[in-house]
């Protein structure tokens, strides 16, 4: 955090208005790194051009309406670049005097961009990357996370499975590094909540099985063969962060079982059909503004900018240090359409929040599940708890 203190140059324009109140013009940016990727398994998962940016637009509207009563304005710049242009894009954002930056990128790029931002005293919000290490050994004092971690997602699924008494798991992991990391989160969740992985297999990514004219024909033959002869299990847990097989699992298993994780029942921060806790209002506002359904990335970006809005509204500050300090303080709380306030873990900068379990159509359940208790917050039963985290950047 030392670097945050250095420069607060034009992070924000503070204007003394005619009245007694200080007007604040809040400038933020959303930087999205677009990676070359294969098509998703489902057309429904095609990323819209304004992925994440739409959440920023809604946040600007929401914050701006509130700001209208207080003399605060909000403006968020959105930038999408290929990976090789990410550093230059961050440099430009910082050169523009912006010190509050929401980043949608993979972990390695996120860390580099965060360190680049730190040199200019800027605060970064992670709205995409789920790696646990970003909240653990690789945490940064100028990095807050509104995105869920792999650990939070896995724990959310594990709690639901254990609540259902589906404690014998067949874990199927992908072979890409992200899949392997996610699978490790599920193994840890199983140990944490008393489930047993009775069968643990890796489904090799050979570049096939994606949607094609006849993809389903192959899948229908491959997956039953792959899943036969597994030990008796209650549920299949899929760890497929790269989206190449898990969505196919549900009806192609050798032994019919429910699927959770990357396919079947999926943990997510938000989805376009979530209606409980007043979320209908979020959805109608979002749809009216953007003409499409909300994606988790939109919600994560919206959350990050609402955190900024709360700091400006309540603590009268838009400087990166001020926003960060307020966000991780006990005074901070935010209503986020999930039935309870969301707050930050002051040991690693992760936003603690309920996790929705989504079957592609509705919210099936919300974790934490009943009966999973914690001495300070039931939300801390998901993800890295204080004693587990090796993050020291917030000390």
């Amino acid at each position: 955090m030392h670097c945050l203190h250095r420069s607060l140059l034009a992070a924000l324009t503070v204007v003394f208005s005619a009245g007694t109140a200080w007007a604040i013009d809040v400038k933020a940016a959303v930087l999205r790194v677009d990676y070359p990727t294969l098509l998703p398994i489902s057309r429904y998962d095609l990323p819209p051009d304004d992925l994440g940016f739409a959440g920023a637009a809604l946040a600007d509207e929401d914050n701006g309406t509130t700001g209208g009563f207080l003399g605060h304005t909000y403006e968020t710049k959105t930038v999408a670049v290929p990976p090789e242009e990410a550093d230059a894009a961050m440099a430009q954002i910082l050169a523009d005097g912006i010190r509050l930056v929401v980043v949608q990128s993979r972990p390695e790029d996120l860390l580099r961009l965060t360190d680049q931002a730190a040199e200019a005293g800027a605060l970064v919000f992670n709205a995409r990357a789920a790696d646990n290490d970003l909240r653990d050994g690789s945490c940064r004092g100028n990095l807050l996370h509104t995105a869920l971690s792999h650990g939070m997602k896995a724990d959310a699924v594990a709690q639901f499975a254990v609540w259902k008494k589906w404690t014998e798991w067949f874990l199927i992991a992908g072979s890409n590094p992200e899949d392997v990391a996610l699978a490790e989160a599920y193994r840890k969740a199983a140990r944490k909540f008393g489930a047993e992985i009775v069968e643990d297999r890796s489904f090799e990514d050979t570049g096939g099985s994606r949607r094609t004219d006849s993809g389903h024909v192959l899948v229908q033959r491959q997956l039953p063969a792959f899943t036969q002869d597994a030990d008796d299990h209650d549920v299949v847990i899929a760890a497929d962060a790269t989206d190449y097989f898990a969505r196919y699992l549900s009806y192609h298993l050798w032994t019919p079982r429910p699927v959770m994780g990357s396919g079947g029942l999926v943990p997510t921060s938000f989805h376009g059909a979530h209606e409980a806790y007043g979320a209908t209002q979020y959805q109608t506002r979002f749809e009216a503004l953007t003409g499409r359904y909300a994606k988790p990335e939109d919600y994560n970006v919206w959350l990050a900018l609402r955190v900024v809005g709360e700091a400006v509204t309540r603590a009268n500050t838009a400087d990166p240090d001020g926003v960060r300090d307020y966000a991780i303080s006990d005074a901070f709380e935010l209503a986020a359409f999930k039935g309870q306030k969301v707050t930050f873990r002051n040991w690693n900068g992760q936003l603690r929040q309920p996790v929705l379990l989504y079957d592609g159509v509705i919210t099936v359940s919300v974790s934490p599940q009943e009966g999973f208790l914690h001495q300070s917050s039931p939300l801390d039963t998901m993800g890295l708890d204080r004693p587990e985290s090796s993050c020291t950047a917030f000390d």
Partner: protein
């Protein structure tokens, strides 16, 4: 407020034959209003009330029932005796809660999706004004002298004090997360604003000119209930200003609060997801709508005890009573 109650009571004594008091409950998911006899506590009938009926109120003389039909984007109007539907009122989009001024003329409606409070004339059935407020306006309270209407905005987290003279916002007070409801004492000297996600009730003293000053905050604690589920929603204060009752949503309890010292005295167990409240006109009973158990609970106000629950329609939301 007191004189209004009195005049209603007198009118009922003089004009009306001996019909029993009634409670009207809006059933958000059932799209109906359930009518409950408040003497026998029997359900009299249930009738179609429009799509997603939520906020519900009555004309000062108790002859007409108004209900926010949220998904119809209008206020539906019903005869309180025959249940016949009368011409609707324009409300602006997605009306959720509203408040009728004591004269019965102007209805102030929160439009949740449009960050507006719509002012509708109940006689000419026209929109008189639209007042821009914070994000997701919901709670609506009115000062007893009818000079101010207070709207709470759930995402902006403010109580907006709108002058009924020029429809301009005169004061904005920040409160805790997701303010749901605003309610004045009968003498107008205090205002209570509930914050569902913040888990608190903000207490304001109101000056002669209507200006608010925050003087306290009430929070809640129930052994064995996670603090996250103590979510204040509906509120009512006795007309003598001594007791405040606050519905605590998924905690399934109504808090009983000393409205002067702001000390929480008791928690009354009611049905599931308790939402809105209303007294019977004589203030002998307090009725609660319990959205997840599809019933209402009757609380004896003097004894501060729940005495009965009555099954109503699907997902009861609001309640209003008449003599």
């Amino acid at each position: 407020m007191k004189s209004f109650l009195l005049s209603t009571a007198l009118a009922a004594l003089i004009a009306a034959p001996a019909y029993a008091g009634k409670a009207f409950i809006s059933n958000e998911r059932g799209n109906t209003i359930t009518v409950v006899n408040t003497d026998t506590w029997e359900v009299e009938t249930e009738f179609f009330a429009g799509n997603r009926p939520r906020g519900i109120t009555t004309s000062p003389d108790g002859s007409v029932i108004y209900v926010c039909a949220s998904d119809d984007n209008l206020v539906r109007v019903f005869d309180a005796n025959t249940y016949e539907e009368l011409p609707s009122l324009p409300s602006g989009p997605d009306p959720e809660l509203f408040i009728l001024e004591p004269s019965g003329k102007r209805l102030y409606i929160a439009n949740e999706d449009d960050n507006l409070v719509t002012v509708t004339d109940t006689e000419t059935r026209t929109v008189l004004a639209e007042v821009p407020v914070g994000v997701e306006p919901e709670g609506m309270g009115m000062s007893p002298d009818a000079k101010f209407v207070v709207n709470t905005s759930e995402t902006t987290n403010m109580a907006h004090f709108i002058s009924t003279e020029d429809y301009k916002i005169k004061h904005n007070i920040l409160v805790d997360q997701r303010p749901r409801y605003a309610h004045y004492t009968a003498d107008g000297s205090r205002l209570f604003v509930t914050s569902e996600i913040g888990g608190t009730v903000t207490v304001m003293d109101i000056a002669e000119d209507g200006a608010p000053t925050v003087v306290g905050k009430i929070s809640f604690e129930v052994a064995g209930v996670q603090p996250e589920w103590l979510q204040p929603v509906g509120a009512r204060v006795t007309s003598d200003g001594t007791r405040l009752f606050v519905a605590l949503g998924p905690a399934n309890r109504v808090a009983v609060i000393d409205a002067q010292s702001l000390e929480v005295l008791d928690y009354i167990l009611v049905g599931q997801r308790v939402w809105q409240l209303d007294f019977t006109p004589d203030e002998q009973f307090l009725l609660t709508t319990n959205g997840n158990s599809n019933d209402i609970t009757v609380i004896d106000v003097a004894k501060e005890k729940a005495i009965k629950s009555i099954q109503v329609g699907q997902q009861p939301w609001g309640v209003v009573t008449i003599e």
